[in-house]
């Protein structure tokens, strides 16, 4: 609860690095890989547009690519990988509610009594 009960893990030398050189190098390599993948994926979406593959397919594929990018971003750049449960539960809940908001109101958009909407 306080400094009395919980020893401060870094009271020894707080100016010493909190990552090893090895961890740091791993991080950097990892970030560069993600950087490359995100760029390539953006180019892929761009190519769908450039080559006019047809709107239906384009929507599906582009959204899939964007979701893949989002996944990479969340997992590696935002460090969700290896993160404890607390945040994950909160985020899953958020994802569910945002999906509900968009999908159910969409359903309501399509399912109407004939003649009441234009």
């Amino acid at each position: 609860m306080s400094d009395h009960s919980t020893p401060n893990p870094e009271s020894v030398d707080r100016h010493a690095p909190s990552l090893t050189q090895q961890e740091f190098n791993d991080h950097v390599r990892n970030y560069l890989a993600i950087f490359g993948s995100l760029l390539v994926l953006s180019l892929v979406s761009f190519a769908f547009w450039y080559f006019q593959i047809g709107l239906g397919w384009q929507i599906v594929l582009t959204l899939l690519v964007a979701s893949a990018q989002a996944f990479l971003n969340l997992r590696y750049l935002m460090h969700l990988k290896g993160q404890g449960g607390t945040i994950k539960y909160f985020l899953i809940m958020t994802a569910v509610f945002s999906a509900v908001l968009m999908l159910v109101s969409l359903l309501a958009f399509f399912n109407t009594i004939p003649g009441t909407h234009h």
Binding site: H4, E10, F46, A66, M78, M93, A108
Partner: protein, 925 residues
């Protein structure tokens, strides 16, 4: 904060009962205080004032409903003014005086001479138009109604429950020295305060305060309050929206704080299942606020755009107001607002009740001297309730032409949600069984709460079915229903809480005699007010009638209740006087309170009275559940959660408690405070953008043609690259700091900032391009004049079947009063050069640059990217601050600075993530 970053410990006072923090000015101690108890008190007092204001508005409305068209001039009560009564449809005889009242069409019959000075105080205060001749104007009535609802919900009840009780009691109950983020806590109070002031100020702008109900349904809310010589942004309804933005922001800050405090600052041994139920109710409530409010915030932004920037998010094509076509781009849908509004507002009704249930639960356990029955089922029911409350919102929209599939879905979820409510109420009622009940004043209010909440809940069931709701919707039955929940329900819980915790906060007891004098009349009068509303509602009385139904034949058998309700409401006002006297008087004259006057169990009673800075004299350690009353074999009938049984002199030597886990992770959650905080904030951001994305989907599906190819895709791609790069540089800055390489970290940080600025620069160029690109909508009958020219050069022409218009876009070469000259955009892949086309304005329905109001596409484009740009600017400002001022913290505690970079980085990556969706959705698809 850990030792080295805090003030030396011996600078604090340890005397029990001192609020004082010796080195702080009066201003820091009582006004801009960061102590959760002071902030809680500020919330309490401010919100009680707003409760009174909201109540007074309602009293004025009740006057108009009881005696429609009668002057409120003080002179009338002296008998000096005789009122000329016009020929209305019906009339009503006062049940009290036998006098006959007839409705008066407004304002013809009002004895009103504009030359004379304003006869009433109200007219003087709110302006001539509000009470001409002392008679309430219809617009003013509408303003009062809208502001009554808004004030009661957003400025009184929620701030009382979460701001006052959540702030004061919850940290004590979890054994924390303060809230997780004290400065944020102060900010949420002041944001709330400003929001309230903004709301009230709207009464004094020309045209008066918002008039479209607390629900602000468009199109009414978009077309109302638009005055010819007054900026739309400062009109009543716009100010309402601005006020809401403040209130929403305040709620978001507050709920992040509450969730973090409960998760991170629980005392040692206070396992989740040992939390008092009040803490649980705050936890779930905070999540509701956190996730449900942002969609309303996005809707508010869009409504503001509709009002101020002329967009049509909520405005359908071809809308006719007062016989005239409204000239907007159209294509929006009012139902989108209803979805986004009720997505908040249904969870909001649980925000209005859950903490109330929490308070009642504490009071009942304490006064029955036995454990709460079914603690676990209470907790799980609350979670379930919170979860399902996100799935029921459209039961407020059965009458919008909703199809059977959707309405079946919402009827089912609505009935499902009544199950946990019944579980909670049942558990509380069974808790009374066999208890040796002490009818203290808090207990009187808590017991009365149960049947009142029960009536409120049960009358909701007929509303849950679309068949019965068809009849009951928008009648006084609905008003009766939800007021039973919030007025005799929640307000009773609030009173119970005030009487219960007052001694802890002030060191004095409130007078039980005055308390009972407050309780009994209040209890009776509340029922006199709201019970007849069920009758009126079932008789068909509409909830928004300005004359109380007197000109309606169908209401002739129920209007007389209006007077009864009005008188009861006035008496209810008088019945609050003992409370006001008690509240202030007891500060001085109340009996001195001990540390645990109610012989209660939870941690707040283990503090000195009133608790000083840091709350506890020594670290509280918990070894029991929250409600250990009448445990067999004990000498006393209660055992406190605190291992020292509330003895303030026991335990380790006293020391000031500081907020833990500001830098290092709490072992069981693996998080330091700010990291949890930023993730919660980002969760709410997800919901904010989800709201705008829903708008995108609605607009796109509702549009007859969706324009593609008007944005510069290459620039979009370039900016995508910029933003992705900036995410990487941001991470490098953080990782370098983890390696304690400050120089390198600074360089990466600077790179991130510059990339951000580059993105903004490109965006600015794109915006300016759009502002210089024009389009004209040519009427169908005139189109043949231009058809050949346009087709010959391969110009891009879009036909809009819904409005029967041909849209030509391009560069504006010239414009005069009669015609415009466009250099048209060509179809994709057309090799020729464009040639100028002259278009006569007589042939054009509307024309203009690609501003937000040009079409729904540009409306959503500017709103989404504008919101994104604002986020980016915010990020840049914080990073720049770290760049210039980060070294101080770094020298003190490098890990702390690394954490700050990590937290800011998370925000930055999120902004990047949003763009990852914006780019394809706006530019490519």
């Amino acid at each position: 904060m850990d030792a080295s970053t805090t003030l030396a410990h011996d600078s604090h006072s340890h005397n029990p009962g001192t609020h004082a923090h010796p080195h702080q000015s009066w201003l820091r101690q009582y006004v801009f205080s960061i102590d959760h108890k002071v902030v809680g008190m500020q919330y309490l007092v401010t919100a009680l004032v707003f409760l009174l204001i909201g109540f007074s508005f309602m009293l004025l409305m009740r006057w108009q409903l009881a005696y429609p068209g009668q002057s409120l001039n003080w002179e009338r009560f002296k008998g000096n003014i005789s009122i000329s009564v016009s020929n209305g449809v019906g009339s009503v005889t006062s049940v009290f005086t036998g006098r006959e009242f007839k409705p008066q069409p407004f304002p013809a019959a009002a004895p009103y001479d504009p030359a004379k000075p304003e006869p009433t105080l109200l007219g003087k205060l709110f302006g001539k138009a509000s009470m001409p001749g002392g008679v309430m104007a219809p617009d003013f009535y509408n303003s009062l109604g809208a502001m009554h609802g808004t004030i009661m919900v957003f400025l009184a009840i929620v701030p009382l429950l979460t701001g006052a009780f959540g702030n004061y009691v919850m940290p004590l109950q979890v054994g924390a020295p303060d809230m997780c983020f004290p400065k944020l806590n102060m900010m949420s109070y002041w944001t709330y305060f400003v929001g309230g002031v903004v709301m009230l100020s709207s009464f004094f702008v020309p045209g008066g305060a918002a008039k479209s109900g607390w629900t602000s349904y468009p199109p009414l809310s978009v077309v109302s309050d638009q005055l010819p010589n007054w900026p739309s942004i400062l009109s009543g309804q716009s100010v309402w929206i601005l006020g809401m933005v403040f209130l929403i922001t305040s709620s978001l800050l507050g709920s992040v704080n509450i969730i973090c405090t409960i998760t991170q600052l629980r005392a040692r041994g206070l396992k989740w299942m040992r939390l008092p139920f009040f803490v649980w109710s705050q936890f779930v409530t905070a999540f509701l606020l956190l996730l449900a409010f942002p969609p309303l915030e996005s809707a508010a932004i869009m409504q503001l755009m509709d009002r101020v920037a002329g967009t049509s998010f909520f405005m359908p094509s071809g809308l006719v107001v007062g016989g005239n076509i409204v000239h907007v781009s159209g294509g929006g849908t009012p139902l989108l607002w209803q979805h986004l509004f009720w997505f908040l507002a249904h969870p909001e009704v649980y925000v209005l009740i859950l903490p109330g249930l929490g308070i009642v639960c504490e009071v009942i356990a304490n006064n029955t001297r036995k454990p709460i029955w079914g603690y676990k089922s209470l907790v799980f029911a609350t979670f379930f309730l919170g979860f399902v409350s996100f799935l029921v919102w459209a039961h407020h929209m059965y009458l919008t032409g909703m199809g059977t599939v959707v309405s079946s879905f919402f009827q089912a979820t609505t009935i499902i949600i009544s199950v946990p409510s019944v579980i909670i109420l049942t558990a509380l009622v069974i808790s009374l069984w066999g208890g040796s009940i002490r009818f203290t004043v808090p207990m009187l209010f808590a017991t009365a709460f149960l049947p009142m909440f029960g009536i409120g809940g049960l009358t909701g069931i007929p509303l849950a079915f679309s068949a019965t709701d068809l009849y009951l919707h928008d009648t006084y039955y609905v008003i009766g229903h939800f007021h039973y929940v919030v007025a005799p329900g929640t307000i009773f819980a609030i009173f119970a809480g005030i009487y219960f915790w007052y001694p802890k906060a002030t060191g004095r007891m409130m007078s039980p005699f005055l308390g009972k004098l407050h309780f009994w009349p209040t209890f009776i009068l509340m029922n006199c007010i709201f019970m007849p509303m069920f009758l009126q509602g079932m008789g068909g009385m509409h909830r928004r009638w300005y004359d109380g139904g007197q000109s309606w034949e169908l209401a002739k058998n129920i209007v007389h209740w209006n007077e009864f309700i009005g008188v009861a409401a006035f008496l209810l006002f008088l019945a609050q006087i003992p409370f006001i006297i008690n509240f202030f008087g007891s500060l001085k004259w109340g009996a001195k309170a001990t540390d645990n006057p109610w012989e209660s169990t939870t941690l707040e009673w283990s503090t000195p009275t009133p608790p000083g800075h840091g709350n506890f004299l020594h670290e509280p350690i918990v070894d029991k559940g929250p409600y250990e009353y009448s445990v067999p074999g004990m000498t006393r009938d209660y055992a406190m959660q605190d291992i020292n049984d509330g003895k303030t002199d026991a335990g380790p030597p006293p020391h000031d408690m500081e907020i833990p886990y500001t830098v290092h992770a709490r072992p069981d959650t693996g998080l330091y405070n700010a990291k949890l905080g930023i993730w919660l904030f980002l969760a709410s951001e997800v919901m904010l953008f989800a709201g705008v994305f829903s708008a995108y989907v609605f607009l796109r599906l509702g549009a007859d043609v969706w324009p593609r190819g008007y944005l510069n895709t290459w620039m979009g791609l370039f900016n995508t690259t910029v933003l992705i790069s900036s995410s990487i540089t941001m991470l490098m800055s953080w990782a370098s700091l983890k390696m304690r390489n400050f120089q390198s970290s600074q360089r990466w940080l600077l790179a991130t900032i510059l990339l951000g600025v580059l993105f903004l620069g490109v965006k600015a160029k794109e915006y300016s391009d759009k502002f210089h690109h024009y389009g004209a909508f040519i009427k169908q009958e005139s189109y043949s004049k231009y058809k050949n020219v346009l087709e010959a050069e391969g110009a891009r022409v879009t036909y809009h079947p819904e409005t029967k218009l041909y849209e030509v876009t391009g560069h504006l070469e010239k414009s005069t009063a009669e015609e415009i000259v466009l250099l048209p955009d060509l179809k994709r892949g057309v090799p020729t050069e464009a040639k100028e086309v002259d278009i006569a304005l007589a042939d054009v329905e509307r024309w203009g640059a690609f501003y937000p109001k040009y079409s729904s596409f540009f409306a959503i484009y500017f709103t989404l990217t504008g919101l994104h740009v604002l986020h980016l600017i915010g990020g840049i400002v914080v990073l720049a601050y770290f760049y210039f001022f980060g070294s101080r913290i770094y020298r003190q505690n490098p890990e702390h600075q690394a954490n700050r970079l990590e937290v800011c980085g998370l925000f930055w990556h999120f902004v990047d993530l949003v763009w990852i969706f914006l780019f394809p959705v706006l530019y490519l698809l």
